[in-house]
Each structure stands twice: as C-alpha cells, then as structure tokens.
C-alpha cells in the first residue's frame, strides 16, 4: 500500500468526484428534463429539480412519439431494438459456439484456413464493409426487416475466438471420457460443452445485447420505413434541425427509455457476467 496522506487522499477523491459528475450529470439532466413541459425546456427554465409532468411526457413518448415531426412511438421502436439486439446476441452466440466447436474438436480439411478466415474478419467491422453488405442485404430483399437488421451483424470473430479459447481449456480427458461413455459429437456438445459454457454465454450475451441495442449506422442505413426505426435511430429523428421546434421533453423521455433495457440486462445478469469473466468451472 502507498502511504496514506490526507492531501493526496483529498486530491484523489476530488478527481473521482469530477469524473462522476462528468459521467452522471448528463444522465441526471436528461432524467430531469424528461419530467418538464416543453415550454419550460425551451425557455431554459428547468433548473436541477424534477418537473411536474413525468407521466404525460412518458405516455406521449411511449405511445405517440414526437408531434413536431411525425415519429414512431417509443414502444414500437423499443420492440424493434429489442428484436434486433436479441437476434444479434442469440445468433452470435449460437453461430460462434458451433464454429468454435468445429474448429477446436474436428480435424477437417481446411480447418486452419477456416480459423484464420474467421480471425481476419476481426479487421472488418460493419463500417468497413458497409457498402458490399448493404448491396447483399438489398439484393436479398431484406431492407426494412428484422433479418436485414440483425443477420449481417451476427457473424462474429470475437465470440468465436472467445469460445475457442475456452474450449481449449476443457481437458482432453473429458472428451475421451465422453467417447468411452458412448457420447457422440452432438451429445458431447449438448451434454458437456454447452453446460460448461453457460457463464461464458451469459457474459457474451450482456456484451452482445448492448452492442446490438446501441447500433446506429447500420439500422439508419437499411431502414427507410419509420415503423422499423430502432430507438437509437429514432431519437436522432426526433431532433429537428430546421423549420420546427424539437419536442425536447419527448426526446429526453425517449432517451431515458432507451437506457433502461441495457441497464436491466446488466443488473439481472451481473452475477453470471462476473462469473463468466473470472471463474472457470472445471
């Protein structure tokens, strides 16, 4: 331990507090603003205390959307986001665990080539391959659909590598014991590999759900129908830059709503998430 001195202690705390304020203040302000009526927000009269119309604002955001520009209600957008995030998270986990299983446990022709191909895609995030990907999705007729939103983001080198590393720590004897017990590759996968990967899957789910939820560029590009907007894209659409006033009370309420599902996922899966990162159950 470093020697404790009152001054350095104080300094450390000041810096920490400054950090907290920088991070928390915008969130707090959003929360406050979402409870005021639009006139007060526009006049800059809201201060730092909650306003009087929280229910009205949230009701409007959830079921009606902004008025000045016609936008989709938050319930629809959240459903879209939820579908996209879930499909991405579940799809990524499913595909990654299967491909990692193949790469680790099967000796097929071109195994290393397959592995390196997956590995190389780490260097190709959506933003880099966005034009060809758009073309493919458009040609497949998947614009303005859940499949178009999620499928191109599902293939994942990161998750495959993570599962591969985990599988390599499963002792070979476990495979052999399964063979002697008479379990074929499928049974070994379902009865041993999947249960052992439970915590890893949970950790990945949290990360991937948030990744999917927070997607902006891709949904912006492939959805033209407002009812297909995800909530992250939707917030941007509610902000008007000319010709009309922005419904800031709605924007703020929608922003708060957009934060809730990721927070909920982290809170509910925190125990498994931490376990997945630190514990190896073998």
């Amino acid at each position: 331990m470093v020697e404790r001195r009152p001054f350095s202690n104080l300094l450390a705390h000041l810096i920490l507090w400054a950090g907290i304020i920088v991070v928390v203040f915008p969130v707090y302000y959003t929360l406050i603003a979402s409870t005021h009526n639009p006139r007060d927000i526009f006049n800059g009269e809201i201060g730092f205390l909650p306003g009087g119309v929280p229910t009205e604002n949230y009701k409007a955001a959830l079921f009606a959307g902004a008025k000045q520009v016609k936008t989709t209600p938050a319930t629809v957008m959240m459903l879209n986001s939820l579908a996209m995030a879930l499909m991405i998270a579940v799809g990524k986990i499913a595909i990654s665990i299967i491909s990692a299983y193949a790469v680790v446990y099967f000796n097929f022709f071109g195994r290393m080539f397959a592995f390196w191909t997956i590995f190389v895609t780490l260097m190709l995030p959506v933003e880099v391959r966005i034009y060809p990907t758009y073309k493919v999705v458009a040609d497949l007729g998947l614009l303005n659909s859940y499949w178009g939103l999620s499928v191109p983001l599902i293939a994942s080198a990161t998750a495959t590598l993570l599962f591969r590393q985990f599988f390599m720590t499963i002792p070979d004897e476990l495979v052999e014991a399964s063979k002697i017990d008479g379990a074929g590759p499928m049974r070994f996968f379902w009865d041993t590999v999947v249960p052992l990967s439970r915590t890893n899957m949970a950790a990945l789910f949290v990360i991937l759900f948030i990744y999917g939820w927070n997607q902006y560029l891709w949904p912006l590009l492939i959805t033209t129908d407002a009812t297909m907007d995800t909530i992250i894209v939707g917030i941007r659409r509610q902000i008007v830059t000319s010709d009309a006033n922005t419904d800031w009370h709605i924007v703020m309420a929608t922003a708060v709503l957009a934060m809730l599902p990721p927070v909920a996922v982290v809170v509910f899966m925190q125990r498994l998430f931490v376990k997945g990162l630190v514990e190896t159950e073998k």
């Binding site: 004897e173 052999e176 014991a177 063979k179 002697i180 017990d181 008479g182 379990a183 041993t192 159950e281």
Partner: protein
C-alpha cells in the same frame, strides 16, 4: 471379464515409431500393470487398448474379438483417468449414470447399478454433490464408480493415483486392489511408480522406449530382471551396477577397480573373459561377518536414515564406483567410516556388457 491379447502391436506418429511391437496375453481376471519411465509408451499402449489411439500395426483383442476398428464405447471397457475427467457440471450420481443413460438402460436399472457402486465405494452420502465439492480421494472414487457401473470386461487405469498425496495414494492403492479382487475384472493399470506396480500387479510389463523389456510376476521381475534396464528400474533404491569381466576360470567377476567377486559354482565358465555388468541390490550386500572374505571396502560418504532402514552411499576403496547399501536402521554408521562389504554369490546378477541382457544362470 475377459482376456486381452496384444499381438505385435505397434504405434507410429508420422514417421516416428513409438511402440515397437508388443506381444502380451493378459489373462481373464488378471491385474496387469504397465510400468516404465515417462515417455516409454505405456500410456499410449493403454490408450490403444481403450480405442483412443489408432493402432498402427498389429492386433488387439478383447475377449477373443479383434477390436482394432471398434469404437471405444463398443469395446466394453471402462477407463479411469489421471485427472479423473469427471463432468464438472454433473452431480456424482449423474457422472456415474451418464454412460448408462446413453446406452439406454431403464431408469430403475441405472438407479440400482449406481446405488450398488456407490455402496461399494462409500459414496452414498455424496451422490448429489458436484465434483468440485469433493476431495481428491472422493473424486478418485467417483471415477472408479463410473467405471464399475458399466460392468465392463476390462478396467483401464491411467496413472489414477498420481494426483493424490502420498498417504491417500497408499490407501487408494489398497482399495483398488481389493476392489479388483472382489469384482474379478481384468484390469490394465499404467503407472511410473514401481512401488505401485509391485504391490498391485499380478503380472507386470516393464516398458522402456516402446519395448516390453520384461513381462512377469513382480517377484520374478525383482529376482530375475531380464535386462539392465529392468534391474535398474524395479527396486528402490536402484540396483548397484559395477563394470567388470568374467575371470579366466569363470568363477569370479574381476571388477574394473581390481576387486574380485566370486560367483556361485562355475556356471559362467563358458563365458570366461566376457565383459559384463555386475548387479547387486543394496539390500543384498551384507556387512562382512566372520568367515567370509570382504569384497569391497566401502568409504561412506553419505548416510540416509529412513527409520526402519539406513541407506549408505559410498565409493569402493574411496575412489572407485559409487555404491549404495541398505542396512538395518539400528546400525550406527557415520560418513567417513569404511565398511567391509560382501556380495553373496546368490544375490548377484550378471548382464552382458554390450547388450545389457541378463546372462542366464
């Protein structure tokens, strides 16, 4: 219960041959131990019997059926691994029941078999626990339970005790032996520990560099090691080796240092002048009593007191070959002393100076 037959079994990885043709017939109900230093191919051989490694050449049969191309699950064997290889996410009960479920046994029969095995191994209290909640010895028992419930023709053990501490190892050794006696199942057991090998085996195969140097009962291997390697490997501390040659009359070995060690009778007369290695176990050297001529004067350099015994390390005449002697623990000797030693003719082993093979006596 079944015989296991190995006929000229070979294994190569790429161009590298690691097992050079092993022939061995394991009898029904026999406890066969494969023993040798690490890398001698003993585990590979066991894994070939299990079906976890392909057989490059030769033939392995279990109960008269050649199993070269039979899947592990269809060979009717059960294997206990060094690290137990229990399924970490399954309870003790499920670990034992898993193989039976796959084979499609009825729930009642699985229950009966698992409970019976648990009874034999005193695991009844632990059936609902997970492997990580068990101690090393308990995990070992579960691994054995998983083997027992299958009611296999052959048990295969791959160094099952090497992850346990010394005390537990002795206890489990006894348990394994009793269990195998009770079940009467043929067992093949791999170990590098020669004490385990000697105590467990009905017969043992001493392996070195992919070759079976000797196959025989423990005492036979101890009393008549077939080669220099076996002589040095079995027995602790290891046998003393002294280079020399058989004298002209074939009645003694003349050691490089000049000493003469008398041989029993004249059995080696025909080998007069041959270069040999003389072997004598530390426990067979006797302190020179009345009437026998001393063969060596041993200058003692180090004394290891084990309690029951004392090991004396020294050099012949203080400058020649090193020698170890085991004497009674009550003997009071100090390093720096010189001890007159005698090697009785009956306790001598002669090995060819070039091939290392035992000279028949």
């Amino acid at each position: 219960m079944a015989e296991v037959g190995l006929k000229n079994v070979k294994k190569s990885y790429g161009g590298m041959q690691v097992i050079h043709g092993i022939d061995c017939a394991i009898k029904d109900g026999e406890f066969m131990v494969l023993v040798g230093p690490s890398g001698c191919g003993k585990s590979t051989l066991l894994r070939m019997i299990a079906g976890l490694e392909e057989i490059s050449a030769g033939e392995i049969s279990i109960d008269g059926r050649v199993v070269n191309d039979v899947e592990p699950k269809d060979r009717d064997i059960a294997m206990v691994f060094q690290n137990y290889a229990l399924y970490p996410h399954m309870s003790v009960y499920d670990n034992m029941a898993y193989g039976l479920r796959i084979r499609g046994l009825s729930k009642a029969e699985i229950d009966e078999r698992v409970n019976k095995a648990a009874g034999i191994l005193q695991l009844q209290e632990l059936l609902q626990r997970k492997p990580r909640q068990l101690s090393g010895g308990q995990r070992q028992r579960v691994a054995m339970g998983r083997a027992i419930v299958r009611d296999p023709k052959v048990f295969l053990f791959d160094e099952p005790l090497s992850n346990l501490d010394a005390k537990l190892r002795v206890q489990m050794r006894v348990e394994i032996k009793q269990l195998q006696n009770r079940l009467g199942t043929t067992a093949v057991y791999v170990t590098h520990d020669q004490v385990e090998a000697m105590t467990l085996a009905d017969r043992l195969v001493v392996m070195n560099a992919g070759v079976a140097e000797q196959i025989g009962a423990p005492l036979e291997v101890y009393a008549k090691p077939a080669s220099l390697f076996v002589a040095g490997f079995i027995g602790s501390p290891a046998m003393n080796f002294l280079a020399g040659k058989i004298s002209g009359d074939g009645r003694a070995v003349e050691l490089a240092g000049g000493a003469r060690v008398a041989l029993a009778d004249g059995r080696f007369a025909s080998s007069a002048g041959r270069k040999v290695t003389l072997g004598v176990r530390p426990e067979h050297l006797v302190q020179d009593g009345a009437g026998t001529a001393a063969h060596f004067q041993l200058a003692i350099e180090l004394v290891e007191t084990l309690g029951a015994d004392t090991l004396l390390h020294g050099r012949i005449d203080g400058k020649g070959d090193g020698l170890i002697v085991r004497v009674d623990g009550a003997t009071m000797v100090k390093s720096g002393q010189t001890l007159a030693l005698h090697a009785p003719p009956g306790a001598l082993h002669l090995f060819d100076g070039e091939t290392g093979k035992r000279l028949s006596d």
